[in-house]
């Protein structure tokens, strides 16, 4: 086995989690481990050779020749950006974790295990481990919601786990189908090989396999109408768990579609584009209106996260450089935004004991710093220029609109025009939430003695917002990594 820095990226949180379970001071070593991982991912980003491109830091370790299963790691620009997202959010999540009353070690271990699963999935170039690492994150999610969640935590934990397990198995069928689609002598689980076969037209799995992948990944991403697990899960999960799941783990599905569907199924994506457009408009418009109607901040954030997935699918349907680059950028931006929002939501809940809009209000006077940070995060979520969410969304809209440039006002342009209203919808619910929590008359749950956000949590969120701003003003920083991945596609 050739050593690869990527292995450390997986091992650091894994070993840290094991230490937490064994009883070491969990908070201190978790912050240390997550911080080390963040630095390592920055180092990888810096030392990735863009002139060469493609997958780098590759290490291969064949485990089982007959099926071609191999523990292979490697990253290209796309996975590097997502690894950065993952390590950033993990770091922020363990940092803002408040004092845990019961089984603190297990809590941090579960958080870190989700991180292990996400890092492993993004860094694997072998389909088996790509899938297996994501599944690994299922159990800590179940435990996090079930043990430390709020509200109807037990019912919700079941629902989420069954939903995700079901989605994963549909996905597994798709992956098996994909594997069997290659000619016998070229059969491989290596993603690089599959992509090459896809470009060369040697893979023809057919529409059934594409639909299995689309809906398998789609359930994991909360594609309309399979989205009902997500808002409840994020509302019930403890804030750090919601940050990691909504911010990072959900991106696994989108990443999978970019990695597998785009190079191998371009014809099928076009064939089923209309279906996808209808479903994603369900995400943006239907779920958008549902979001407006929410009366609790955490549920509203959960629905808003589902709604934003619609934009990502629009980028996928566009299937051109602009749209897919924008989709990847938006995945990064949305992960940071929603993580910051859930972290702030957790801070609010700890201070007031409620997240009902009717009992909140006027907090800005008592907790100005919290209010300011929430304002920034809300603007980032709406997609204000200056944040990378804006850059991602605008690229997606351009990309999708450009798909229809040859015809008159066709499906794509209509869908883009409708999807643009999503920006208005998200402005409505975000600004309303901001007003009802921080401005207006003092709510019944808002007491004079509540403290402003602590310095530690503040810096964690500032870190997330700073990353959003930097990549918002200079989206090129990330796009120079992302664009080469899709360079073979039409503009």
């Amino acid at each position: 086995m050739t050593p690869s820095p990527l292995l450390s990226l997986i091992l650091i949180p894994l070993v840290t989690a094991l230490f937490c379970m064994a009883g070491a001071a969990p908070r201190r070593i978790s912050i240390f481990g997550a911080g080390a991982n963040l630095l390592l991912s920055l180092y990888l980003l810096a030392s990735y050779n863009q002139a060469i491109g493609g997958f780098q830091f590759v290490s291969e370790n064949p485990l089982f020749a007959a099926y071609g299963i191999s523990f292979s790691l490697g990253v290209d620009g796309l996975s590097l950006v997502l690894l950065l997202l993952c390590t950033l959010v993990t770091f922020a999540a363990v940092w803002v974790t408040p004092k845990i009353e019961k089984q603190e070690g297990m809590f941090y271990a579960c958080l870190l295990f989700i991180s292990v699963g996400a890092v492993g999935a993004f860094a694997s170039i072998d389909l088996f481990f790509f899938y297996a690492f994501h599944e690994l994150a299922l159990i800590p999610t179940f435990l996090l919601i079930g043990i430390w969640g709020s509200g109807e935590r037990q019912r919700i934990a079941w629902k989420v786990t069954i939903y995700l397990a079901f989605g994963s198995f549909i996905l597994l069928l798709g992956l098996i189908g994909l594997w069997l689609a290659a000619p016998d002598n070229l059969r491989s689980l290596d993603i690089r090989m599959l992509q090459q076969l896809g470009y060369a037209g040697l893979l023809s799995p057919g529409p059934a396999v594409y639909l299995l992948l689309l809906f398998g990944f789609g359930i994991l991403i909360a594609l309309f109408p399979f989205h009902t697990w997500a808002p409840e899960a994020y509302a019930s999960a403890p804030a750090p768990a919601a940050m990691l799941h909504a911010g990072v783990l959900k991106k696994f599905g989108l990443y999978g579609l970019l990695r597998l569907a785009v190079p191998i199924f371009p014809a099928e994506i076009q064939q089923f584009a209309h279906l996808l457009l209808v479903l994603l408009l369900g995400n943006i418009l239907y779920v958008g209106f549902v979001t407006i109607a929410q009366k609790r901040l955490n549920l509203m954030l959960g629905y808003s996260s589902v709604m934003h997935m619609g934009y990502a699918f629009l980028g996928l349907a566009a299937l051109n450089q602009l749209g897919l680059g924008g989709m990847a950028l938006m995945m990064f931006a949305h992960g940071l935004t929603i993580a910051a929002l859930f972290a702030l939501c957790g801070e609010i809940a700890r201070r007031t004991g409620t997240l009902e809009f009717s009992e909140l209000g006027g907090m800005a006077g008592i907790t100005p710093k919290l209010g300011l940070l929430f304002g920034f995060a809300a603007m980032a979520s709406v997609g204000l220029p200056g944040f990378s969410s804006f850059a991602g969304e605008i690229l997606i809209f351009f990309g999708a609109f450009a798909r229809g440039a040859t015809g008159c006002f066709n499906w794509f342009q209509t869908a883009t025009a409708l999807a643009l209203w999503g920006v208005v919808i998200s402005a409505v619910y975000m600004l309303r939430a901001y007003r009802r929590v921080f401005w207006g008359g003092r709510g019944t749950a808002v007491k004079d003695e509540i403290a402003d956000i602590s310095a530690g949590s503040r810096w964690a969120i500032i870190l997330l917002l700073a990353a959003l701003l930097v990549t918002g003003f200079r989206p090129g920083l990330l796009l120079e990594y992302l664009n080469p991945v899709f360079a073979y596609l039409p503009q």
Binding site: F64, A132, F133, L143, G146, L172
Partner: protein, 483 residues
């Protein structure tokens, strides 16, 4: 080494153990179990040095006895299962003693340790049997010893009820088996599987219904043994009533042997395309029904033994799916791998259950409440067993399912694969019920003392955990063995 010696040494070991029992006074009988474990370990080690070529192909026994890879692997599984049974039985001894009428210390325990050794010999012969007569004799050796074991707790009504049920239904299925063999013999004139295979293509078309009838009867009889729906109805009561180590043994080794026989009979008959066209759908229907019934019926269970009983029916369904996909290149390997993985994870679950039940006095899921804090290591063992049974990646159970589904996909059993996916998702629900009890719920009695685990049980639990993860991450050595 000639493979025949394997069974001979197991039988000799059993006789030595019986003698030791006969000549020992009152006592715990731990020595007898220890002797059994050591002896079986030695035989297990010997299986790796077996040379099938040492058998005389012209000798009379070569007609009955094959020593191919399939047989050797199943012998290893049987030996492993028996060793784990003895470890479990040592933990379970107090319950056995309490439920036997004799007042003398250790009375009846010696036999409880010895009978499984004879069962093991039967299983090993079953693995090698390639003649219906041999299949019948070895199957009966296994079944009759199980009649005794299932009803071993003589003061326990559930155990006696289980014993009666098992006896009646076992006898019935034996009847089916003999009747089926008669029909097949009547048509082909042979009881020997390779000779039947040679005779089949030369037969007249007119006899096909008779042949199918015979095969159907054999399939029903084996369906009872492997607990395939609709022949599964004895399973829950018998599994719940039997002593827990016996349940574990019954649901792993006995089932594995049933599958090997099924595989051998099946392979004999599918070589004729006309028969294949009729037999394959039959097995496919059985597989679908078994997957659905086992997994759906497991959902509402609150007793862990019963839950595992239903889940074992579900797993038989996945294995049958593998049998129905026998045309795929890796189907044989997939089935054997699944059998091995299933044995490891089921044994692990039962072993932890025996240890916990000794401390809490019950085997309901609620008795596991709070185990995560009370005994984190045991809880981890159970967690791993449940995740592997549910089929989470990086455990042996996942790879087993993956291989089977892959074969089914290749053979285009799309409907069955879809059913499989739905039932696997249902499986997540009921296996996680145990995880929930262990980690979410508070223990009924927070001040309960620590759970004591015997040294041997500890080693076994740790070994099983390691094997499950190892096979889930790095299955290459086992697959190389099966190739």
């Amino acid at each position: 080494m000639n493979p025949l010696y394997l069974e001979v040494s197991v039988v000799v070991l059993g006789i030595v153990m019986l003698m030791a029992e006969a000549f020992s006074g009152a006592g715990s009988r731990r020595g007898i179990a220890g002797l059994g474990i050591l002896g079986l370990l030695a035989v297990l080690a010997a299986t790796f040095f077996v040379n099938p070529a040492a058998m005389d192909a012209a000798a009379p026994y070569a007609r009955f006895y094959s020593a191919d890879l399939l047989a050797i692997f199943l012998k290893q599984l049987s030996l492993l299962a028996t060793i784990i049974f003895l470890v479990m039985a040592l933990e379970y001894a107090p319950t056995v003693e309490a439920n036997l009428p004799s007042e003398r210390r250790g009375a009846g325990l010696g036999e409880f340790y010895t009978i499984p050794v004879f069962t093991c010999a039967g299983l090993m012969w079953m693995a090698s049997a390639k003649d219906f007569v041999m299949i019948f004799v070895s199957l009966e050796l296994v079944t009759i010893s199980f009649y005794i074991l299932v009803s071993y707790l003589r003061r326990n009504r559930d155990s006696l009820e289980a014993g009666t049920k098992y006896l009646v239904l076992g006898a019935l299925s034996t009847g089916f088996l003999v009747y089926g063999i008669t029909w097949i013999f009547g048509v082909t004139g042979h009881t020997n599987l390779p000779e039947i295979a040679r005779a089949l293509p030369t037969l007249d078309h007119a006899v096909a219904p008779a042949l199918l009838f015979g095969f159907g009867l054999v399939l029903i009889a084996l369906g009872f043994k492997i607990a395939a729906a609709p022949f599964q109805f004895w399973v829950p009561d018998v599994y719940q009533g039997a002593p827990t180590p016996v349940t574990a043994f019954l649901s792993t080794a006995s089932k594995a042997a049933g599958f090997i026989v099924l595989l051998r009979v099946f392979q004999t008959f599918v070589i004729v395309p006309e028969l294949q066209a009729k037999i394959l759908p039959l097995v496919a229907v059985l597989a679908g029904a078994t997957m659905v019934f086992g997994n759906l019926a497991a959902i509402p269970q609150s007793n862990l033994k019963r839950l595992l009983a239903y889940s074992s029916i579900g797993h038989a369904g996945y294995l049958l799916l593998g049998v129905a996909s026998i045309g795929a290149p890796f189907a044989g390997i997939a089935i054997l791998f699944y059998l091995g993985a299933y044995l490891l994870m089921t044994m692990l679950a039962f072993l932890v259950m025996i240890v916990v039940a000794k401390a809490t006095g019950g085997d309901d899921i609620s008795d596991f409440a709070g185990l995560g804090r009370r005994a984190p290591h045991l809880a981890f063992g159970m967690l791993l067993a449940m995740l592997s049974l549910a089929g989470l990646p990086l455990t042996a159970g996942f790879l087993g399912k993956l291989f089977i589904f892959e074969c089914a996909f290749r053979q285009e059993h799309y409907l069955l694969v879809a059913l499989g996916v739905v039932t696997v998702a249902a499986g997540f629900y009921y296996y996680l019920k145990v995880v929930r009890a262990m980690y979410w719920q508070q223990p009924a009695d927070p001040g309960a003392p620590e759970i004591e685990v015997g040294g041997l049980a500890k080693i076994t639990i740790a070994t099983l955990c390691a094997l499950i993860i190892w096979l889930g991450v790095y299955p290459a050595p086992l697959l190389a063995l099966l190739r």
